[in-house]
């Protein structure tokens, strides 16, 4: 009994020492910003975060990537967060109208492409091949931005390929994924024959997918909103990070990854 108490005591003292030393090392104000960001930012945002930390060593990051609809639901349910970076203005409007985020700034744009596995099991070469019955198409669900943009693009394509086009294509959907990563993974693994993802995803995937571009007049332009979450306990640092994303370093990294400028 006495030995056990001694061990517990030593552990507690040790923990206290660790706690003191870590806060002492980082100065008194080490901050971890929780950033809720769209799945399509998964490759890029940690890099922007690293650059920000290089300039502000007392600020670290905890990123949570998911579909923008899920992120919005999380913030509405009171998830602790400092920055919201979504893939659709619709959800930025929803959150700011409910007073949950500050006024958002559009920080980049994105557009869609069609991707197929390099082995191309269904032999999809052009958009018209998408009407062939029986192949496996994976897209985003209706509520996640990539899924909404996909449906908008297909509707736009009705003007090019005839009014039944989008219905015929949608009949081949075998799964509505929660976020763009789900679509990309299923195409990369070859389990799906085709999927609609952002141009930045296909760029990041490189040779893992074959990309088929869409006619620019049928594109739906995805505008990405970024804002400080109202309930943030680190609003000043969060604001600095938002400014950093909108500034030259952030915009440079975004452009390198294939995102368009926010004005577009």
């Amino acid at each position: 009994m006495r030995v056990r108490r001694l061990v517990v005591g030593v552990m507690l003292v040790g923990l206290a020492a660790i706690g003191c030393s870590s806060s002492a090392e980082a100065g008194s104000s080490h901050v971890t910003l929780t950033v809720l960001a769209a799945s399509s930012l998964k490759n890029l945002f940690p890099k922007i975060g690293d650059q920000f930390t290089a300039a502000h060593p007392n600020v670290g990051f905890s990123f949570s990537f998911a579909g923008t609809d899920a992120l919005t639901a999380q913030i509405e349910q009171g998830a602790p967060a400092d920055v919201f970076a979504g893939a659709s203005k619709k959800y930025g409007d929803e959150l700011s109208s409910k007073g949950l985020i500050d006024v958002f700034s559009p920080f980049c744009t994105n557009s869609l492409v069609l991707v197929v596995p390099p082995s191309n099991p269904a032999g999809i070469q052009t958009l018209t091949d998408l009407t062939k019955p029986g192949f496996k198409l994976v897209i985003g669900s209706e509520t996640v931005p990539v899924g909404a943009y996909t449906r908008a693009v297909l509707t736009n394509l009705n003007a090019v390929y005839g009014s039944g086009f989008s219905a015929q294509v949608l009949a081949n959907v075998v799964s509505n994924e929660d976020n763009v990563e789900g679509v990309l993974t299923k195409v990369e693994s070859g389990e799906a024959d085709a999927g609609f993802v952002y141009v930045t995803d296909s760029k990041a995937a490189g040779a893992a997918v074959t990309t088929i571009m869409l006619p620019s007049n049928a594109q739906a332009v995805a505008t990405y909103p970024i804002a400080v979450v109202k309930s943030s306990a680190h609003a000043i640092d969060a604001q600095a990070f938002v400014a950093f994303v909108l500034g030259p370093t952030g915009q440079g990294l975004l452009a390198d990854a294939g995102f368009g400028p926010p004005a577009g």
Partner: protein, 284 residues
């Protein structure tokens, strides 16, 4: 148990508090669902296309999965419980593996085994079968995750059957198959039903393996749990709550139904000589 010693009130109170805490912890979330969904809203949800489609997919796939588990799991559990097969402890442990595996592991494992580029993908394709994103994939995910719940219970039930009963059946000229079917299954029926109910409930609630291996498509692979998640992540908390309430009602309803069936079935079906011997062998 009660010795009448007054000094032992404290443990009783502590156990009572612990039980109240546990009951509250389990019941509160279930109650909260119903407190946040008015009965009118629940009825509306029953008419929503998403909920109805998900209910159809869930009921169909879970019943098929449980049927498959029964057909394959019952003889397996019987053999493991009534013979001295070497390595049966190991086999039983292997069959129970899905109990401790995270469903996400089950999902990725099913892909690795039965996906288009999985171990058996080529062979399946050669005969024109592609499993991922189909209702077969849903059934497989459910069966994989739910089977141990039945096999475990069935094994325990068969192990509790008096070996002399089976021996007597054999002495009277019944083959092993007949002894299994005419004596083992009827005597163990209660345990088997309980196992089937547990497996069914687990199948109905399956989420992780399904969404990975079968994807999510309304009316085809979107089960009730997937629909709840879809509504929730789509920002429709009320829709998610309504489908959750539906799932609670369906699960609880079938549980009650199976129990009632068990009670009436036992009196009607059981031959008298078995009843008397189960009474003796099952008296604890």
């Amino acid at each position: 148990m009660r010795t009448g010693r007054r000094g032992n009130v404290l443990p009783g109170v502590a156990a009572g508090v612990a039980a109240a805490l546990l009951i509250g912890f389990v019941l509160l979330p279930v109650l909260a669902i119903f407190l946040r969904v008015s009965p009118g809203r629940l009825v509306t949800a029953l008419h929503s296309r998403v909920a109805l489609d998900a209910l159809g997919v869930s009921v169909k796939t879970s019943l098929i999965a449980v049927a498959l588990i029964l057909v394959v799991g019952t003889p397996t559990a019987y053999v493991l419980a009534t013979t001295n097969l070497r390595g049966r402890g190991l086999i039983l442990s292997l069959l129970e593996l899905p109990l401790v595996l995270p469903p996400a592991v089950a999902g990725i494992g099913l892909f690795a085994a039965f996906g288009r580029f999985g171990l058996l993908g080529g062979a399946l394709r050669a005969v024109g079968v592609e499993i991922p994103f189909t209702q077969i994939a849903v059934v497989m995910a459910l069966a994989f995750v739910a089977s141990p719940f039945y096999v475990r219970q069935a094994h325990a039930a068969f192990a509790a059957v008096d070996p002399e009963l089976l021996g007597a059946a054999r002495t009277l000229g019944a083959g092993p198959g007949r002894a299994f079917w005419r004596v083992g299954v009827p005597v163990a029926r209660q345990g088997l039903s309980a196992g089937a109910t547990l497996a069914w409930a687990r199948a109905l609630g399956e989420f992780g393996a399904t969404i990975m291996f079968a994807g999510s498509l309304q009316g085809r692979t979107q089960t009730l749990p997937l629909a709840i998640y879809g509504e929730f992540s789509g920002g429709d908390l009320r829709g998610a709550l309504a489908i959750a309430a539906l799932l609670v009602v369906v699960s609880a309803g079938l549980l009650v139904g199976v129990r009632a069936m068990l009670r009436t079935g036992r009196a009607a079906l059981e031959p008298r000589w078995i009843r008397s011997s189960t009474l003796t062998s099952a008296s604890r």
